[in-house]
Symmetry: C2
């Protein structure tokens, strides 16, 4: 399948200059398909504010900024995927509090090189994410930019005060657990970058991404772990601390330890890796542990549970126990396959050699 090539060539034929619509018409146009999923959404787009009624629950708010040329490269990221992913990045933060996402606002700034159809494609992905994750698009702002496309999303959610999980609740001897597998999204980006360079040199070269479909999908269309929040409820497990993996495992472990005032022992051989991650790391001559620790954009959940909850999560294919917390505040170490202990740093880990 010539996946990348298709994306690169998939230029919209119809082009409506944004200047043909005013700002208000653009907002109306882009949000007219927004469904309303929640009774708590009293008012969506079309007034000074969205109005949300969350009586009895705590309200969660999170926000992220995505900048063209910094967070994404439109030469290989289809706009629909970008819209979908931009929503996921925010929902993931709500789930990382053990909460339910209910509303988002989406603001974009866009240069005049984008025709209306491109922005519609972006919003198709946003609407798809909203409908799939049962979230209401309730507001936003559209603006010109002097360069490129910028997306700022704010997600609003709710959580039962009894169930809210902070980064700061881990205790010594709690188990450190991660959902899914790690490193694939980062490798997907490397694969796409390589294909882009091949394409630039020779647009007629044969692009073969079949061996990397999982990696590319993890990069372009990540799914936030809403299912895990439900799973916690079903299993009657409340994590003691939790964070989502956006910047990479090592960075997130350090956040949990810092805010919980604990240390951590992390076991290299327990880190879950997909087979495509292992084979592609070999091909690219990369260390798969480094990729899992530093890659980022996995949007899996990293959490701690009390040891007494181990039977509830044991054997569940969604969970991998990868370490345990210690009382040695600030000492975060990777125990390698060879049994050595290596300090974990935010930039990855200090390689052995």
């Amino acid at each position: 399948m010539n996946y990348l090539c298709r994306m690169l060539e998939n230029k919209n034929q119809s082009r409506t200059p944004l200047s043909e619509l005013g700002e208000f018409k653009l907002i109306d146009h882009l949000t007219k398909n927004a469904l309303k999923h929640h009774k708590s959404t009293l008012k969506g787009v079309g007034d000074d504010c969205a109005v949300i009624d969350n009586s009895g629950l705590q309200t969660l708010v999170t926000t992220d900024f995505l900048v063209e040329g910094v967070h994404f490269d439109l030469s290989y990221v289809p706009l629909k995927h970008l819209g979908y992913k931009a929503v996921m990045v925010n929902l993931s933060d709500i789930y990382a509090m053990n909460g339910t996402a209910r509303q988002i606002t989406v603001s974009i700034a866009v240069s005049n090189r984008f025709p209306l159809e491109a922005i519609e494609e972006l919003y198709e992905g946003i609407h798809l994410a909203c409908n799939t994750y049962n979230v209401d698009l309730v507001g936003g702002d559209t603006s010109s930019s002097t360069k490129g496309l910028l997306i700022s999303i704010t997600a609003i959610g709710v959580v039962d005060p009894e169930k809210c999980v902070y980064r700061s609740g881990a205790g010594a001897n709690d188990l450190l657990v991660v959902t899914g597998d790690l490193g694939a999204a980062y490798l997907g980006l490397q694969v796409l970058e390589r294909e882009k360079q091949v394409f630039q040199v020779n647009p007629n070269a044969n692009h073969e991404l079949d061996n990397y479909t999982y990696l590319v999908e993890r990069q372009l269309k990540p799914e936030a772990r809403k299912d895990v929040v439900k799973l916690f409820d079903d299993l009657k497990v409340k994590p003691t601390s939790m964070i989502d993996i956006s910047d990479g495992l090592s960075s997130e472990v350090l956040h949990l330890c810092k805010q919980s005032k604990t240390g951590c022992q992390l076991y290299e051989d327990k880190i879950p890796l997909d087979q495509q991650v292992i084979s592609t790391c070999e091909e690219f001559n990369l260390d798969s542990t480094t990729i899992a620790l530093s890659g980022g954009e996995d949007y899996e959940l990293l959490f701690t549970v009390k040891q007494e909850d181990y039977p509830k999560i044991k054997g569940n294919p969604n969970f991998s126990v990868i370490g345990h917390m210690t009382q040695d505040e600030g000492i975060v170490e990777l125990v390698t396959r060879g049994g050595q202990k290596v300090p974990v740093t935010a930039q990855g880990w200090n390689a052995l050699n």
Copy 2:
């Protein structure tokens, strides 16, 4: 007073490259002075989400994007003022629902031409606005941009469901009322633009802004009308519809009429103008009514009340009755001083000549 010149020359001497701090350190650094004003702010910066508990009230959410080169020009807007104004723009939307602002999130994307000190100055203005308006800074995101400075702010507020005012509630014969005066912020921008051009031609020219202090202040340091929300409460007035004036009076009147399915008769001689607006319009050879209708950025409140509430607002120096709503849906007219009726359009109004 050589006001503009001082601003243009006020370059920070100390320059810390942003690359010296990581993203996390930058957020910590910029938000460490954020005070917590509300018990409802359970968790501010430092977790995946802010946690806000608004039991029993409705939650309001609004967001705005400010882009360098589109919404502001840093050659004459001091960064501290910009930060302050960026918050005002959002709070104004909360007040326009008759609500109370409680929290904001601030996301910035910034190119590497900005040293840390510049971003600190921006946040000084943001913190000042938060402290003055009793609002908590609870989260955000910092990011690189490939060009310039971009600011995305989301404000969260609450409102008693009985008091929430939408744009859609105006009825025929309701009075149309505006707070403060109009047109000054737009003229302030014209004055600053002119001074910038003079400065570019001759940096040693004598800049005299004393005659325009009110205009410049309205442009650079607008104040959202939190006081008016309190005043409504004190006077026991609930507007039937309300909007804030960000894009200009004519545009906002059209919004109210469209959403309320009414028409409107607006009286030219009732539009409140400051003396500096009148004199500067004469000097610049501009029509003051056009400026008031189309200027924008006033951040005053425009609202409608039932005629029976007229005694409650009559004579109050904060309010000017400038027209009345009609049942003629879609017919929005300016009644000129000469008694002629001119259709009001979003771009201002069709001038008489």
